[in-house]
Symmetry: C2
Subunit: 474 residues, 2 copies
């Protein structure tokens, strides 16, 4: 049902700013730390809080999903009066990171503190603040359109264990595949480049990770008596790692780049518009130099290029001083970040062969992979969903250009994309300095209002595009 | 004083076999484990036992050296009646290795068990058995020469902490430089190739060892967020180690081989005569392939070639599964075995430069050396001392050719050589399968009698050569 709208989304939001702040204050007081079992009751309370908030907002359906091994997730649904409207699934999470070291916090992490435009508390930005802009957003959407139901069938899936690595997310998706069916997924767990530089994530890297163990002598040998005459597995593991990259930082596993979707000139030009300063980057990275694949910028290296990175290496004597042995074993833990369209299983096979070819005679190699790996996800620029998204965000920023960015990390989004089989877009307004996994997490409150406005506009935009165009991307 | 000899050295020894066995049984019951402080009283008892045995043998001087931080060592001296006789310093040690794992011993390690020609006990071969052949040997020497004092001024230095790495040996040498003055040193702590293949050690490798730490980011970084864009110290340490050798196993530190005394063709021919089977070697090394510097045999690689060997490597995540970080630090512990005439300090400087040149931008390297290093020691073939030694050993083996071998390890011998400034020779009859640092140590009793005979003959041989020729090697 639609009546003549009496306000704009922005005006509605401006009139209800305190509602969002009050809700956020109340929700942030629940320490739903999923990584800590003694906080699992709080994770449930946090889920219950959001069920209640969604119902207050008007969602006719809102309940906890806990019919599996996952911590309580929330599912909410508000169907459009228009039966043909597209179905949108919003993904986020209500659990939060641990707070230690507590002594580094300037305020109690679970006693939210408003300081001008900044609200400080654990979860303020990641992800409770972002999720609450959706609740305000849908109300603004209704007010601005004069509707009594959203212009899209709106589904919310709010996970409860993202901060502990989403260990059961695939099971949750498998168990609720029908419930989660949709035409487009909106992920709300990411950020923008700067307060005045609207942007949207257009890719997250995938990953495969392995522990490679090289076995040499069946016992540690005296390096005087045997040194120089038998293969040393620590040397072998070092030579294996060294062989992974050439001097230009290019990964040498044959076929590694075969399926990589290369950046187009247009994309590189857009990436180039994203404000970035290597000096500032190095301060955040607490590093002394940038380093990586030749021919790519830091942002491209992180977002658009696959990597081979050593996460751990070990073998032989680890203590103080010296022990003159040839170690029996050495290992390296390597993770490969993948980009679209790399197939994790092809990379696994290529690395298996690479290890085998770089294992010297007399050394036995074992490669243990961590699970099946995670595929990268990529939001192609220029699809109807992407265009609607950037228009909605741009409008919330008074017409500023919305830049595409890419995340270097890997999250549950790839599993979402595979489970739903539809395009993903990313709507989230965290800031790089929000300290989301560190002490003194904070959120910029004005950006939450902008998020609500972008969401309010996005549902209308998606409705205009229609289900088929959203789903097929054409 | 000399009278007409009434026997040969061998006959004398054959008539006194039980004396050596009785002495050995008594001494081996003292568990003088220098590495274990609760056995340090036993180390003293062991030293006292040898003082008493040396006196019984006829040494006019025999006492404990304990005026420094070292565990009790024994000094004994028996001057020749011939004032111009050469002075010989015999070096050995009376302390023994620990016995754990005790459950792998078939007999009590400190209850010596004679089984045919084999005597089993901790220290039977390393080094108590070897030292007792010197006591029987000097008596045989007197009987066979009709002398009442040895043909050489005989000094014994029996260390008490060789099995814990001779940590105070340099101090002992410095404190007793005058006492230990001599024309030649006879080291008795090594072995021969096989029971029927007499041989003598002609070199021991030196060593320098360092821990190289590479520092990257000031904290562990998320490998998704930063991976591929900053230098990874674990990758850098692997590339450093990989750069140490070329594909032919040759060490790539510039100048590394500059001062190496290369084997002559004659020496290689002699080395070639030493029975060696890589298959048997691999069984002992519990390894699957030989490996090393191209163009050299296994024995040459161990005895005559310097090495760079990784003793330990580490950095980043060491536990089960995976942690996707770029580690802040990584380290490698490297030891370089040296041969004559490599100067440890030149190698240290070369490696320092090599590390610096192989440290990528953004990584900070720290190289911590273990002490000042140990020089290699080399017994040149064909010197008067060497010829007298091989003649004495050869005679004990009924004229068999005595082959030169080299040890890959490093011991206190280099310090002895530097402190005394005179040539070293090696007289010891351990066997490769004597299990000297393992459970079920044993010694071949007939080889101890041959050792006694060789010693008896050696003192006469050295006396014939004379002090100056021994000392100068010409």
């Amino acid at each position: 049902m639609t009546t003549e709208p009496t306000t704009t989304a922005r005006d509605y939001i401006d009139g209800h700013r305190q509602d969002l702040l009050d809700d956020l204050d109340s929700w942030l007081r629940i320490p739903g730390i999923s990584a800590q079992p003694d906080h699992h009751d709080d994770v449930r309370r946090s889920a219950e809080w959001f069920v209640d908030a969604a119902r207050r907002t008007g969602f006719p359906t809102a309940h906890i999903l806990d019919d599996g091994p996952w911590l309580p997730a929330v599912y909410a649904e508000w169907r459009s009066d228009d039966a043909d409207a597209p179905t949108v699934l919003v993904y986020g999470h209500h659990d939060v990171q641990p707070v230690d070291p507590l002594e580094l916090w300037h305020t109690d992490p679970f006693d939210p503190t408003l300081d001008g435009d900044v609200l400080r508390a654990r979860g303020a930005s990641d992800d409770k603040g972002q999720l609450l802009f959706h609740l305000l957003g849908v109300q603004a959407h209704l007010a601005a359109t004069g509707r009594t139901s959203p212009a899209v069938h709106l589904k919310l899936l709010i996970e409860g264990e993202e901060e502990s690595g989403s260990p059961h997310f695939q099971e949750l998706l498998d168990a609720h595949r029908d419930l989660l069916a949709c035409d487009v997924v909106v992920v709300t767990d990411t950020g923008i480049v700067a307060p005045d530089v609207p942007s949207t994530v257009t890719g997250m890297r995938g990953m495969v990770a392995a522990t490679v163990t090289l076995h040499g002598p069946d016992l540690d040998l005296h390096s005087g008596v045997f040194g120089g005459a038998v293969p040393n597995p620590a040397t072998a593991v070092a030579r294996l790692v060294a062989a992974l990259h050439d001097d230009d930082g290019s990964v040498q596993v044959p076929g590694f780049y075969d399926d990589v979707v290369e950046l187009t000139d247009d994309e590189r030009a857009l990436f180039g518009k994203v404000p970035h300063d290597d000096g500032e980057f190095l301060k955040v990275a607490q590093s002394r130099a940038v380093h990586g694949e030749k021919g790519f910028s830091t942002l491209e290296r992180i977002g658009a290029r696959p990597t081979a990175e050593v996460n751990g290496i070990g073998g032989g004597y680890q203590g103080a001083g010296h022990k003159t042995i040839i170690p029996s074993d050495a290992f390296v833990k390597i993770s490969f970040r993948l980009v679209a369209n790399q197939d994790p299983q092809k990379i696994v096979q290529g690395v298996d062969r690479f290890v085998s070819e770089h294992t010297p005679e007399g050394i036995v190699a074992d490669v243990a992979w961590e699970g099946a790996g995670v595929q990268a996800c990529l939001v192609p620029l220029g699809t109807p969903a992407y265009t609607a998204l950037t228009e909605a965000i741009g409008a919330a920023f008074d017409g500023a250009e919305v830049l595409p960015t890419r995340e270097g990390g890997s999250g549950p989004e790839a599993a979402l994309q595979q489970a739903t089989g539809v395009p993903l877009v990313f709507l989230g307004f965290m800031l790089p300095d929000d300290q989301i996994h560190a002490p003194n997490e904070k959120v910029s409150v004005p950006l939450l209002y902008k998020g609500a406005e972008a969401a309010a506009r996005l549902w209308s935009g998606f409705a205009e595009v229609g289900a088929t165009a959203l789903r097929t991307g054409a």
